[in-house]
Structures are given as C-alpha cells and as structure tokens.
Amino acid sequence: MFKTKRFWVSNFGFRASNLQGFKIMGLWYSVSAILLLTFLVVIGIEGMGLVSFFTIFIPYAALFLFVVGFLYRVLKWATSPVPFHIPTVSGQQRSLSWIKADNIDSPYTTGGVVKRLALDILLFRPLLKNEKVEMQAPQRLLFKPSVLLWFGAMAFHWSFLVILLRHLRFFLEPVPSTIVILQRVDSIFQGLIPVIYITDIIILVALGYLFVRRIIYPQVRYISLSSDYFVLLLILGIVLSGVLMRLIYKVDLVQVKEWAMAMLRLRPVAPKEVNLLFYIHLFFISLLVAYFPLSKLMHMPGIFLSPTRNLTNTSRNQRHINPWDYPVKTHTYEEYEEEFRDSMKEVGLPIEKG
C-alpha cells in the first residue's frame, strides 16, 4: 500500500498560508444576516411587544411553509420519472453461482436495497469510506483514510435527533417513558445541577467542526456558499440559545409547556414573561423550519429517492421501463446493405437481396 509514504503537500489539509488575506464574503453575509435576525426579534419583543406575532403567527406560518414546501419538493421528485436503471454499483454483481455476490453494495433483492439505504442513511457509510489523497514528491499519491467528516456528520445528526426527541416532552402529556429514559441516558454521566446533556456538548463541538472546516480547508471554503454558512449559524444560534436557557438564564418551563400544548390544540396562547432567549430560540427554529424546503436541507428526504442508491443491480434480468420512451430514427440494415451490397457480394458476405 501507499500508506507508509510521507508527503510534502497536502491538498486537503490545513495550510496557514491559505488564510492570509482570505475573504469569505459568503460568511460575512451570513453572520450579518444572523445578527440582523437576532436584532429583529429583540426589537420585536422588547421594543414593540409583538409576543403573539413571534410565538403564534410566525411558528404557525413556518410550520405551514414547511409542510407545504416539503411535500411539494418530495412529490416533485417522486413523480419525476426514473428513465434508466442507474445504480452506482460498489460490489460484486450476482452472475455466476460460484462467485459470491454482494447484496448490499450491488443489491439484487429489495432487502439488499433496504440494507444499503439503511447503512447510508443511518451510518453515513459512504463518508466512512472517505479517504484523503495527498501528493508526495515526485508525483506520488498517498491515500489516507479520512473519517473526520464522517465523525462530525454522525455526531451532528445523531445528537440533533436525540435533542429533537427530548423536546417531545414539551408537546406530549403525559411524557412517554421512552422520552424520559432518553433524557436520563443523555445526562447519565454527571451529577451536575443543572444537568448538562451530553448531546448538547456533542452538537456544539460537531457544529464547530463543520463550521471551521468550511473556513480552514481551502477547497471547502472555495465551494461554500453563503447559504452553507447561514444554515450552520442558524442551527448554532438555536443550540446556543437553548443551552443558555437551560444553564444560565432559566426559562419558566411550565409557561413554555403550556404554550406548546395550546399551540398543538390550535387554541394558541402567548407565553408570558419568559426569557428573551426563548423568543430567539423559537424564532430561529421557525426560520430553520420555514427555510428547510427551500434549501439543501432537503437532502434528508432526498437520499431515500436517490436512483443511484435505491435501485437493485438487476438491469439485465429485469427490464426497466422508461415511461417517456419514444421511437428514434435509426440506420436500418436495409439502408446499410443498400450502401454496401456490391462490396459485400465481392468478398462473399451473405446478403439479403440480389
């Protein structure tokens, strides 16, 4: 293997020189946008007293946009035809009986496809395969496993999910025991009061990593858009406001739960005298939810529909139909023979006519 070699330049690594004089316009736009939005909610609540607007109208509107937008996008994909059978095969095909076929990376049954998708969706398996290519003089490549991105992505998504589930306690009465258990497990390693959740720490570190890598790796910085920074900052804002509410600026949880239950019953009542952080938290969540269907966050439902991953590698024993197939103009054998008949005859090739 290449693995013992050393390198002189790392094309994907951190190089201080790359930071000199770098401008990331997209980043500054996003930072400004986040600040502006924070300012907006502070003014709205503190200055103008628009409590109902921010706690009732905006969340409902956001949820509405989310549901409609999400369904629209998913239905749009789902109703687009898949004209050709194009799985990205990554394992041995099923062919001869004595060759062991790979039913996950070259699935030949629906079960295989389900396993492949499950591994991709739950464990981010493609990222686990990630490897960094580096160049060693003179002109030699080295491949190194690179699982940091996988680790960061796993940490971020899974802790996000746990945090989301934990929040169900605000919307369910009585709180299901699974949620209670989850909450206990999440805070198991400490006797601190107030409790610090493990997932809160993990998600902050993971977000930090995902954010920093967009800045320090030159190639990733080059491809990053304002919207890429914006989403990370928005989620960071949500997490930070949430953590601060829990640790330092306590929020009246009874008030919050009453507000949440009232929202669910569609008889909304604005919460009274909760900390400003709560309004920021809620506003950012509303923004995220409303922005979700417009953004790359749609990768979440999208991966289920990816035709390179959700098809079996069986295109030779099962015909795939193209719904919009149409007849095309071809050059027929008759036309061909017409042009070449004499020379075919001359060399004794069989012909149809004459």
């Binding site: 062919s95 001869l96 030699r140 491809i223 790359k296 015909r319 090739l349």
Partner: protein, 544 residues
C-alpha cells in the same frame, strides 16, 4: 505534437485556490487541454441541431440567436424527465467528500474539476431560473445568470469529466456527476456545441456499423488477416463466421478490437477461444460495434446506435448475444439497452452451449459478458490452459469504470487471469474495484489534441500502476475496456514506462492449448515467450 508534455518538462500540479470566486466563468482554452469541436458534416449526417464550424478559441461561438431560451427549455424538459437531474441538483450539501475523488482534480488541481464544483456550474443556473431561493437570494444562494461565458465554461468542464462515477461512490447521497455531465452535454448539443472525437465515431457507427468507419469488405479482409496470423502462430486455421444466419450466438465487440493495437491481440484471443470450444456463433458487420459513443452525447443518440444490436440479432435469428471486452459498451448493455430497445423477446435466455450453465442474471437482456462466459468455461474445466506461455508477464488488472461501477464485474476477469497467468498482483485497494480510477480519457475524451488533460486525468491510475511496477515488477496492465487499451499505452509511457497494456482475452489466447496446434514459440504479439519487453507498438489510438 509540438507542445506535448515531455519527461523534461513535466506537468506541474498546483492545488492553490484561485483568488476569484468560482461564480466567475473560466473560459480559457489552452492548447493541449480541450477537444476540437465536431465537424459540422457529422452533425448534419446525424441530423443534430445547429451544425456549424467554430473553434473554442474564437471570441464568437456563433450560438443560435435564441440560445438562452433553447438551453433553459432544454433544462426544464430534462428536469421533468429525469429524477436524477432534479434530485442531484437539489440535494448537494457541498460537504466536499467528492473533491479529491476525481482523477481530473487530483491531476490538475483545478477546483472546478472537483465534482461538487463541476455540478455547481450547472446547478447555479438551475437555481437562478428554476428555484425560489435562487430567484430571491441570487448569488447568496449560489445562483448566477446564464451567459455565453457560462456556456463556454460548460464546454470546457463537461468535456473534462469522463463520466466515470467514482465520485458517486463517495457521495453520501450517491450524487452521480455522470448524470450531471450527461445533462450538460445534451444541453450543449441543443445549441450545436459538440466535440469531434465523439461525433465522428458516432456518425461512422451510424453509417457503417462501427466507430472506425470500417466497411464490410474491409472487416472481412481484417478477419482473413487475423486467420492467417493465427495459423502462423498456432498452426491452426480458425473459422470466423460473419453475418451468418441461424448461428446460436451473435458476438459483438468494440471495433477497436479488430483494428487497433494492442486490442488486436485480444481479438485474436476471442477467435482462438471460439474456435477451440467449437462455438456456433457469428460476427456481424452491420452491428460491428459494441461501443456506443452516443452515450457520451445524449440518451437519444445512444439509443439510435444501440438499436442495431437487437435488430441484427433478430435478423440473423440467433438465440442470444455475447459481448466482448469494452467498458462503456457494457454500461449501455447492462443499464440501458433493455430499456432503450427491448424487450428482446425474440431471443432466448442465454445458456452456455458448452457447460449448460444458464446465465439467468441476463435473462431479460439476453446478453452475456465474455468474462462471465469464459470464467464459466474455466470453472467447468472446459479449457486446457498453459499459463506458462504468459510467463514473461507480471500482471495487474485495471477495473474499467463502467464494468466496475456500472456493473459490478469484479471477480470474473480476476478468476480468468489467475487461470491464465503465473504472476498476478493487485494495485492498492483504494484504486481498484468500485474505487477504480479512470484512464482519464473515457467518455469521448481520448483524442490527441487534449493530451495534457488526458495525462493529468490518468495520473492517479498511472500512479497506482507505478506502485506495483516498482514493488512487484509488474509489466502488464490488463483491462477489459477498448478505450483503456487505446489510451493507457501513451499514458503509461509518460508516467510509468515499462508497463504494457493488454486485454484479458489476449492472455487467454496465449494460454489456451488448442487441439492440433503446433508448439508455440511466440505469444499472440509475435514475441518470443521468454523475451523481455519489446517497445510498445505504435498505431492508431482510437477506441471502440
């Protein structure tokens, strides 16, 4: 070529990121890096839109007046017809995992060769005209105007992608740049922007049945020549049926196999094998091409060229079809043919007439890969083999992109190789099977005028070859792709001299002990069985 990169003036690979944003189109066309545009006569012959003569280096590309509307309409149409396009344009998160998976990025350092950015070149236009966020937030959401400069940039970068799909393996969502490139090339075609290396073979194939434009009588004399050559080497006179009605099997291979080098020796290998097992088969001159350069142009052209295979199988009344060693040919056959031109209900489920093995994985398409066929013969001990006749070769195997990531044909060729040669070494695992690196010249980029781009794109593959060359003394790279056989020799000549290229069935032909043969003193190349490497033969490079 005058300014072809040489050993003395080696290519530099610079990974420094340019100062200007990627949203500003890069439209530099430097000699040695781009392919010549298609001659308008080929476009006319194939009845493609807006044929004209132009050059990428011209200021004015003579685009049709309504070019913007044509492209946007074309995009909309394809967004509605392909879930892959819409989805892949929508869900990328720009994580960058694909970046250093692309051979063109590794070999050039140009960030626009990162698959993510290659797709963004198209995605930015999609956002501007087809998404709400792009319309509202513009540049902030990564949207940009469709300008002539953007079209020029597309022509540059979508003809620097070989549709190899390696990035798709590493993408967390399976986003396949091949799909993106296919779409972009279709859009470019709509305004009459094509490359000659794709359209000339395609036009030839349409007319004569093969990319090289070989008419039937020339095909016949080539075969006669091969028969004589084989008689000289083996003492056995083989039968080669052509256009024979009523044969059991129609055999189709890439045309380069019977006209280019080192493909020729693979061709000889096929002929020996079929003779020895007494296969009831036929070649066809009308369908004398397995390869399909239409695939590199548009789904429609791919279908038009592919139609010949089934139609010829029907005319000749064969039972099933056997296919030779070719990469993208097998992408088409495995993933497209049945959809394009099926159902092949006039054929029978393929069964090996020698071993009785039923190839039920090809039940619908009715087409079997020759490596599947030969591996089955070997497993059933139907062949007498003398691997020592390949003793001069220390062999490695290059998975071609399409048979790997389009099919999963990994073990069959390896099983064959282990049976026919004495020393076989794998390249590092990061560079084989589903992680295989492209030759850098696939998908119609194997021209001469873009040699620098090809050498850069081929660098990762060559680098892995160099590793086994230095470590184990590997001197032969085998592959089952005609484009590989055409384009890897000059590539290896540059990056790792001393390694030759051969098809798998060339080695089969060497090792195969024929009934009634004379003692072999040379291999199919006419070289003594023990000799050290001779200089590689120089001849046409066009692949099938």
């Amino acid at each position: 070529m005058a300014d072809e990169p040489s050993k003395e003036k080696s290519l530099e690979i610079d990974y420094t990121i340019p100062k200007k944003s990627w949203m500003e189109p890069s439209t530099e066309f430097r000699k040695g890096t781009y392919c010549y545009p298609a001659a308008s006569r080929h476009e006319k012959y194939l009845e493609l839109p807006h044929p004209r003569e132009w050059q990428p280096t011209d200021e004015d590309w003579k685009l049709p007046e309504d070019w913007r509307e044509v492209i946007l309409r074309g995009m909309e149409d394809r967004l509605n017809r392909y879930r892959s396009y819409r989805l892949f344009l929508d869900i990328c998160v720009r994580c960058g995992a694909c970046a250093d998976k692309c051979h063109f990025f590794i070999g050039s350092g140009d960030p626009k060769n990162m698959p993510v950015l290659r797709a963004e070149l198209l995605r930015s236009i999609y956002r501007k005209y087809f998404t709400l966020s792009g319309k509202v937030f513009g540049k902030l959401a990564g949207a940009r105007e469709l300008t002539e400069e953007v079209v020029k940039e597309w022509f540059s970068y979508f003809y620097q992608c070989t549709e190899c799909r390696r990035c798709s393996v590493f993408c967390p969502y399976g986003i396949d740049t091949c799909e993106i490139t296919m779409m972009a090339r279709e859009l470019l075609n709509l305004v009459g922007l094509n490359i000659n290396w794709i359209l000339e073979p395609a036009a030839n194939c349409y007319r004569t049945g093969n990319h090289l434009g070989i008419p039937p009588h020339a095909f016949k004399s080539t075969v006669d020549f091969a028969v004589d050559e084989l008689q000289e080497i083996t003492g056995v006179k083989v039968e080669v049926p052509i256009n024979r009605k009523g044969a059991e099997i129609l055999f189709i291979s890439p045309s380069a196999d019977y006209f280019a080098s080192p493909h020729w020796y693979t061709f000889l290998g096929y002929l020996l094998l079929f003779h020895e097992i007494g296969l009831d088969y036929t070649w066809s001159t009308y369908a004398s091409e397995g390869g399909n350069f239409g695939l590199f142009h548009s789904a429609e052209l791919a279908k038009r060229l592919n139609a010949k295979i089934y139609s010829e199988a029907k005319r000749l009344g064969v039972k099933w079809i056997l296919g030779g060693e070719c990469g993208h040919m097998w992408r088409v056959i495995h993933q497209y043919m049945d959809t394009f031109n099926g159902p092949a209900d006039f054929l029978e489920e393929p069964v090996s007439p020698i071993t009785g093995t039923r190839f039920d994985h090809a039940r619908s398409t009715k087409m079997v890969h020759i490596c599947e066929f030969t591996a089955d013969l070997m497993m059933n001990n139907k062949l007498r083999l003398d691997p020592s006749r390949n003793r001069k070769w220390k062999v490695t195997y290059h998975d071609s992109c399409n048979t790997a990531r389009g099919m999963g044909l990994f073990e069959e060729p390896r099983y064959i190789l282990r049976n026919v040669c004495q020393e076989f070494y794998e390249m590092p695992e990061n560079t084989i099977k589903e992680k295989t690196f492209c030759c850098g010249s696939g998908s119609g980029l194997g021209a001469d005028e873009n040699m620098e781009t090809r050498l850069r794109g081929g660098f990762p593959r060559a680098n892995a070859v160099r590793y086994v060359h230095e470590k184990f003394g590997v001197n032969l790279l085998t592959c089952i792709c005609a484009i590989d056989r055409a384009t890897l020799p000059p590539l290896l000549e540059y990056w790792v001299p001393g390694v030759e290229v051969a098809g798998v069935h060339e080695l089969v032909g060497n090792a195969l002990v024929l009934r009634g043969e004379k003692e072999r003193t040379t291999n199919l190349r006419g070289e003594p069985l023990d000799s050290t490497i001779s200089p590689s033969p120089s001849s046409g490079e066009r692949a099938g």
